[in-house]
Amino acid sequence: MAASKLGLSAERIARCRSLAREVADGVRRETAKYTTVATERTVLRLLGVDGVDAEEVPIPNRAIESLAAAGKMNRGAAVWMGSALAHGSGGVAEAAARLADRKGAAALTEHPRWRDALLPHVEKGLERIRGNRAERERRLASHPPDERPLLYAIVATGNIHEDLVQAQAAARAGAQCIAVIRSTAQSLLDHVPYGATTSGFGGTYATQENFRLMRAALDSIEDELGRYVRLVNYCSGLCMPEIAAMGAFERLDMMLNDALYGIIFRDINPLRTLIDQNFSRRINAAAGVVINTGEDNYLTTADAVEQAPAVLASQFINERLAKDAGLEDWQIGLGHAFEIDPELEDGLLYEIAQAEAAREIFPDAPLKYMPPTKHMTGNVFRGYQQNALFVLTSVATGQSIHLLGMLTEALHTPFLHDRWLAVDQARTIRTNARHLSEELQFAPEGRIVRRARAVLAEAEALLERVAAGGLFAALADGVFADTRRRIDAGRGYEGVVERDAGYANPFLEAFTHAPAATGVHA
């Protein structure tokens, strides 16, 4: 691990980690008692249940609503799918239909050998995930290692077919990760739309078919580019584990996966989304997916200098929750952003301090560095300048994933040439300043070092406060982003169900015990 440039106190960092552990343990004590409609729908999807009924309502939603109505959800969908199969259902689809039928669900009794009946389907789902992970590692190993930081571009036309064209153009221009922005506020849908979609709201709906189409489109130009193009999407929100499962089935490489984001910024019920997050992160861990967390959102309106400690505290908590869900360091793409006011004296020194601190505190994490938005204006020349300083700071502090900033950030979803200019800028500066991070050191008692220490100290104080009452109390007190979120309020609370004694989730069990596969990773 490179020598520390900031001389941050190892004790204080250890203290933050132990506080984060306390917070995470507190969360787990609470969440372990429950399951949710989304988690159980995900079990069905991992077993192969899919499709929609005549009213376009997804079969998993129908089945789980029916099980819930029959008071059977507390034992977990797996038990009933296994039982239906053991009682003679011909296959997974037939079993799901049986569950989705109100009378059928009510009448269904638990079969003693439900696990044996279910095992082959569980195994088939796990094998599909392992297969995709191996395929990704094979493809990555077939090309030279990627230049860092990885350049991450966004497409968002609302029409998946138009997205394919723009995504290939961005990849050809040099983007190494492509994210299709979800239709805005899809976090709040408690079902996943089905099939290819051609109209969304400021983005394109995340659906399994849209994942499949985009994955194929990017694979088709892999040889031409001589490199594997990573595909990113968003599983945050009420369908967190479901979308994670779809990503695992379609070989998505990265997922926005952050319950804290859903709670604070989408007013989703804290208990619901933290329960779902655990299962979704288990799935992403097994699938070899790199998760991204949404700390950048703290900086998009509130002052980026004041909020820096909250970002760091949130990163410590997210790291611990991720590790508790089986994710390895290389999979935890903690988020932060370049959002300080460009007119602030020494503001660039604070950006460097904060980015370097994240690098040193989370040395093995694929840190995801987000571009300026708050202070971007209609002066597109100033916009291009700020993104140049952003790229240079990213390279100078060894960030891992660099989300490309558009000079027209404040104006519209990116034009083709906006994106080309962004990729050209990042590629050029990444080369021109290739080894800058190895070169730079900071004056021992200088402003940069003092800033980093101050942020760490305030983050520790924040973690002390969160650990004292636990995360749920802290959220209710508005500790994060001055936004109060009670444990019993917000979207999706009604979908939380207590597990009963006989509860079982074979996938959760499999993910919890199976050692994660080694080998080349993203």
């Binding site: 805005t184 709040l188 910024f265 007013d267 040439h417």
Partner: protein, 246 residues
């Protein structure tokens, strides 16, 4: 008195302008000539293509400098005052603090049987709608989102209890005019409870517009594509008018 004006580069009336755009054609001498002619059609003479960059197999990005020939007669504009730009979030918050000295309480919900909340949430919560942040981000508003399927009686109770300044309701399902029934029921309930005049009442939804809302007795209606910043600016003016504050 005609006062005509043209762009200024480094000499009066030199008409200097810079243009950039992409043409959906592969980079070639032909493409550069096309870009030059395109800019000429815009009334720009001496087009100088300073950049022709292939940014995708069949797309070329151009930067072109030239001399625009058009003139603007300022005297023709001075009459109608140019429309002022939308207020920023900071300006709205400052204005609320200045006029009211307190936060404005805004309740919101999806009415009766309607379970669609994404639209209302896009107006209410921190993240908002495609980058246009929700009312929760405005220090000037105490935005309380009551969620989905809230009966009109419950809405009236919460209005009285919170002494709300405004109520924002969403109605999305329109089969056999169910949204008209629900929206009308709410107005009737508020009037019965002598609460109607104490609040600004706003309706919204995929099939709602200003005319329908006014017809049903609302102060305003918002349809598809609405952003929180537009609603916030409206609430500032409407509540000020309602409560005689300026």
């Amino acid at each position: 008195m005609k006062r005509s004006v043209r762009p200024y580069g480094d000499k009066k009336n030199d008409g200097a302008v810079q243009v950039s755009f992409t043409l959906p054609m592969a980079k070639s001498a032909l493409a550069t000539e096309a870009a030059k002619r395109y800019v000429s059609q815009m009334g720009i003479r001496e087009p100088y293509v300073t950049l022709a960059e292939s940014i995708a197999p069949d797309f070329t990005f151009f930067v072109v400098y030239g001399r625009a020939t058009h003139e603007i007669d300022l005297s023709a504009i001075s009459a109608e005052e140019a429309p002022a730009g939308a207020l920023s979030r900071e300006e709205i918050d400052a204005e609320i603090a200045r006029r009211f000295g307190r936060r404005l309480i805004v309740l919101g919900c999806a009415l009766e049987s309607d379970a669609h909340t994404v639209g209302l949430d896009a107006i209410f919560n921190m993240k908002g709608f495609a980058g246009d942040y929700g009312l929760e981000r405005y220090h000037g508003f105490d935005a309380r989102n009551l969620g989905a399927q809230v009966p009109v009686a419950e809405v009236a109770r919460r209005v009285r209890e919170a002494a709300a300044d405004a109520v924002l309701v969403s109605a999305t399902v329109t089969q056999n005019e169910i949204h008209v029934r629900h929206l009308t029921d709410l107005v009737d309930m508020l009037e019965a409870e002598r609460l109607r005049d104490r609040v600004v009442l706003v309706a919204g939804g995929a099939r709602v517009d200003h005319a329908l809302a006014k017809e049903l007795g609302y102060d305003a209606g918002f349809g598809p594509g609405t952003t929180a910043s537009v609603v916030a600016a409206f609430l500032l003016e409407e509540i000020s008018r309602h409560q005689g504050v300026s």
